[in-house]
Amino acid sequence: MNVLGVYNIKGGVGKTASAVNLAYLASLEGLRTLVWDLDAQGASSYYFRIKAKVKGGEQQLIGKKGDAAPHIKGTDYEGLDLLPADFSYRHLDLHLSEASRPAKPLKKLLNGLEDEYDLVILDCPPSLSLLSEAVFECVDALLIPTIPTTLSLRTLAQLVSFTRELPRKNRPGLWPFFSMVDVRKSLHRKVIASHKQKKTRLLGPYIPYASDVEQMGIQRAPLGAYAHKRSRAGQAYRELWQEVQARLREGNI
C-alpha cells in the first residue's frame, strides 16, 4: 500500500481538488483507493457528498482501540472510499502530543488498512503542526501543490529545509507541482520558466487555473466525473497522475 499526502502550509492552493482528482484517477485504474480527509473543514468530504462526521470524533478514531475501518464510507465511484473529516480534528494535535510518538496513532490506523487498499491519499490541513509532522512520517511522499509566485516558492523552500531537519527515516519524498497556474500572468510564466529547485523533485505537469475545477464545489464530484474530456485541467490531472503513478511503480520516491 502506498500513502501519499497532499500538503502545503499555505491554504487555497488546490490541495483538496488535487487529492480528490488524483484519487479518482487512481480508482479508475483499478487501484483500491482511500482518501482520508484530515482537514476539520471537511472539504473533500463535501466534494464526495459525505457528511463530515466520524462517530465518537477524533478521540474514538485516534484512541487506543481506534480503528479506521468502521468509519469509512464508499463514494459514488467504484473502488474509491473516503474516511471523512470531523470537526473534532481541530483537536488532533492535542491528542497526538499525548502519544509517545505523534506519528504512532496515525501509523497504526494506516497499517490496519494495508490489506484493503492499494493507495491512501491524505488530504491535509494547511498548517505546520504535530499533525503535519505525523503525516510526514507516515507517507511515502508529499504532493505539494504550489502556486507559481515568489512567496509560494519561499514557503516551499522553508518546507524543504524543515524536512531536512527530520531524521532520514522520517523524511518523506517531496513532490511539488505547480497548481492554479494562470498563464495570462507574466509572473506565473516567469516562475515556471525560471524555476530551478535543484533539491526538490518537481512534477512535470502543472494544473491550470480553470473554472471547471472551481465547479467541483457546485458539482460536488471529482473533475473527471463531469468535465468534458477536452478539459485542460482534466488533461493536466491525468498527466500528473501518470507521473505520480510512474514514480510509485519505480519506487522513485
Partner: protein, 515 residues
C-alpha cells in the same frame, strides 16, 4: 467484504417497471444500459468451481476477476490476461489457485451476454447510498452456437458505510420479490447448458447394481470408461494440457484390465477382437505420456542438480519439447484415422446392444461372480508377492505391480456391490503397496529413458558434454531412489499381508449364494 445479493425476476420486468413498482424507495438510473460480456474459465474437470472459486473476464473495459461462488471479488486485474496455465495469471490470482489448478489449463467454460443498468438509491445530498444492478441475461457453454435466455437478475450492491440504507432497500425488494435466490447466476447458466458447473470429471465411479448379470454389469462398466475416452479425445487432439492424455490412457488401461478380468462375461470372438484393438490403442499413447511426464518433472530434475550443473540441462528440455511435438502429431494422425474410429463405433454398438450374447459366465448374477474374481485375484497377488525376495529381479516387482493394478481396478468396478466403509478400508490398504510398486517402476523407467534420451540426443548431433554429464547425475540420483524404494517394498507387502487385511478380504468376498 460486501456481498452482493441476487434476485431472479419474472419475464417482463424492466428497470422502468421496477422503479415504478417500488413505491416506498426512490431509485434513479445511475448509468445507461450497457452491454457486458462475461466469459467464465475453469479447467476441463471444473477444479476452480469445486474448490469454491469462479474466474471470469468481463467487459468492456476488460477486467479479470477471481471471486467466490456468489461473485464476491477476491482479486481483480485490469491488465491484459489470457487465462491458461497457472503462469498466465498474476500473483494475486495464482497464489490462491496453485494447489488447485496444478498442471491443468484454464479453458473458456461459459459465455454470458448481458445488458446491465445500474439504479441508485440517493440520500438528501444526492449521494448514492445503495445500488441495484438490473441485468438482462443470456448464455451458453463454450462450443455451443446458440444462447439460452436466462431470467433477468437484480443484484443489490450495498455501499460501504450505508448499511442501514441497504437493509431498507433489501426489505423493499424482499417484500416485492421474496428472498434472494439460493442459486447464483453462474449456477443458473450452468443448469441451462450441457456443461455441468463442476466440469467433466474423469473420476471413475462404478454404478453397477446387484440386480445385473455379469454381462450387463461388464457392459455398463465399459460404457463408463468409453465415455471418459470420448470426452478427453478433443482436449488430447488439441494438446490443451497433459491431463487429457492421462485420463484418456487411464480409461484405456481400465478397459484393457476389464477385458482381461471380465473375460468370462463376454462373447469370446468379440473379446479377442477388442482386446487386440485396445492393446493397439494403449500402445499408441505410451511415448507421448512418457514425454509429458518428463516435461512435468523437469523442474524437479533441475532442482536435484547443483546451480552450475542445472544450467547445462536446457538442451535436454529442448529435446523433450521437440520429441513431444513430433509424437503428438503422430498420435493425432492415429486418433483421426479409420482404425480408432472403427474401434469406437464397434465398441459402442456392442455396449449399447441390450440383447444377451452367448458367453461362458455372462448370465451369472454379478455378486457371486465378482466375489469369485476378487478372491482369485487376491490369492494370486499374495502368492506371487510372497515369492519376491531381496535378490528377485526388477521384473518380478513389475509383474506384481501390473497384476496389483488390475486387481485394484476390479475392486473399484465392483465396489457398489459391497459395504462402502469396508471397501474404502480395503482400497486404502491397497493404495500404500501400489504407490511403492508404482514409484519403483517409475524410477526404473526413468533411469532407462534418460539413458536412451542421451543416446538419441547424441545421434541428433548434440555437442554439449556438460548436458550429458548433468543427465548422468540425474540418472545416479534416480538409481539411488530406486534402491531406497526397493527396500520399502518388503515392509509394505508385509503390512498388506497382515491378518487384519486378509480377514477383511475373506469377509467381503466370501462365497455368496446366487440370487
Amino acid at each position: 467484504m460486501i456481498v452482493p445479493q441476487e434476485w431472479f425476476l419474472a419475464a417482463g420486468i424492466t428497470p422502468d417497471t421496477l422503479m415504478e413498482q417500488l413505491t416506498n424507495v426512490h431509485l434513479t438510473p445511475d448509468s445507461l444500459r450497457t452491454p457486458r460480456n462475461l466469459t467464465y474459465y475453469d479447467s476441463f474437470d471444473g477444479r476452480l468451481f469445486r474448490a469454491g472459486y469462479l474466474l471470469f473476464q468481463e467487459g468492456p473495459p476488460v477486467r479479470t476477476v477471481l471471486s467466490d461462488l456468489h461473485g464476491a471479488p477476491l482479486a481483480e486485474s485490469s491488465q491484459e490476461i489470457h487465462p491458461g496455465f497457472l503462469d498466465s495469471l498474476p500473483e494475486e490470482f495464482s497464489f490462491r489457485l496453485a494447489g488447485i489448478l496444478q498442471m491443468r489449463t484454464l479453458l473458456p467454460a461459459y459465455h454470458l451476454t448481458a445488458h446491465r443498468q445500474k439504479l441508485a438509491l440517493l440520500n438528501n445530498d444526492d449521494k448514492t447510498v445503495c445500488r441495484v444492478v438490473f441485468q438482462v441475461n443470456k448464455g451458453r457453454s463454450d462450443g455451443s452456437t446458440a444462447d439460452t435466455e436466462l431470467p433477468s437478475s437484480l443484484t443489490l450492491h450495498p455501499v460501504r458505510g450505508y448499511e442501514k440504507q441497504a437493509a431498507r432497500l433489501r426489505k423493499a425488494l424482499v417484500q416485492f420479490f421474496g428472498e434472494p435466490n439460493a442459486l447464483t447466476l453462474f449456477e443458473m447458466l450452468a443448469d441451462a447448458t450441457d456443461r455441468p458447473a463442476g466440469g467433466r470429471s474423469s473420476y471413475f465411479k462404478s454404478d453397477i447394481s446387484e440386480e445385473m448379470n455379469a454381462q450387463e454389469a461388464s457392459k455398463r462398466l465399459f460404457g463408463q470408461m468409453l465415455q471418459v475416452i470420448i470426452q478427453n479425445e478433443e482436449g488430447l487432439l488439441r494438446n490443451l494440457d497433459s491431463e487429457f492424455l492421462h485420463d484418456f490412457r487411464v480409461a484405456v488401461r481400465r478397459t484393457r484390465a476389464g477385458l482381461g478380468k471380465l473375460r468370462s462375461a463376454l462373447p469370446q470372438a468379440l473379446w479377442a477382437h477388442f482386446r487386440t484393438e485396445f492393446s493397439w490403442l494403449g500402445g499408441q499413447t505410451s511415448l507421448l505420456r512418457d514425454l509429458d511426464v518428463y516435461l512435468l518433472h523437469y523442474p524437479v530434475y533441475r532442482s536435484r542438480l547443483s546451480e552450475e550443473t542445472r544450467t547445462h540441462l536446457a538442451p535436454f528440455h529442448d529435446y523433450l519439447q521437440r520429441a513431444h511435438i513430433k509424437e503428438h502429431r503422430r498420435l493425432k494422425r492415429q486418433l483421426k484415422g479409420a482404425r480408432f474410429r472403427r474401434l469406437k463405433q464397434q465398441w459402442q454398438e456392442f455396449l449399447n446392444d441390450p440383447g444377451y450374447l452367448e458367453a461362458p459366465e455372462g448370465q451369472e448374477p454379478v455378486v457371486p461372480w465378482s466375489c469369485r474374481l476378487l478372491r482369485n485375484g487376491f490369492q494370486k497377488i499374495y502368492k506371487s508377492g510372497s515369492r519376491i525376495e531381496e535378490t528377485s529381479p526388477p521384473e518380478a516387482l513389475h509383474e506384481l505391480r501390473i497384476n496389483f493394478k488390475k486387481l485394484r481396478y476390479l475392486v473399484e468396478f465392483f465396489s457398489p456391490l459391497f459395504p462402502p466403509k469396508q471397501m474404502k478400508k480395503l482400497i486404502q490398504a491397497m493404495k500404500q503397496l501400489q504407490d511403492t510398486l508404482g514409484s519403483y517402476q517409475d524410477y526404473c523407467v526413468q533411469v532407462d529413458s534418460l539413458t536412451e534420451f542421451g543416446h538419441q540426443m547424441v545421434q541428433e548431433g548434440m555437442k554439449t558434454p556438460e548436458t550429458l554429464m548433468a543427465m548422468g547425475v540425474l540418472v545416479e540420483d534416480l538409481k539411488q531412489r530406486q534402491v531406497e524404494t526397493r527396500r520399502e517394498f518388503q515392509a509394505r507387502f508385509d503390512q498388506f499381508s497382515a491378518r487384519e487385511t486378509k480377514d477383511l478380504i475373506a469377509d467381503l468376498f466370501s462365497v455368496k449364494d446366487s440370487h
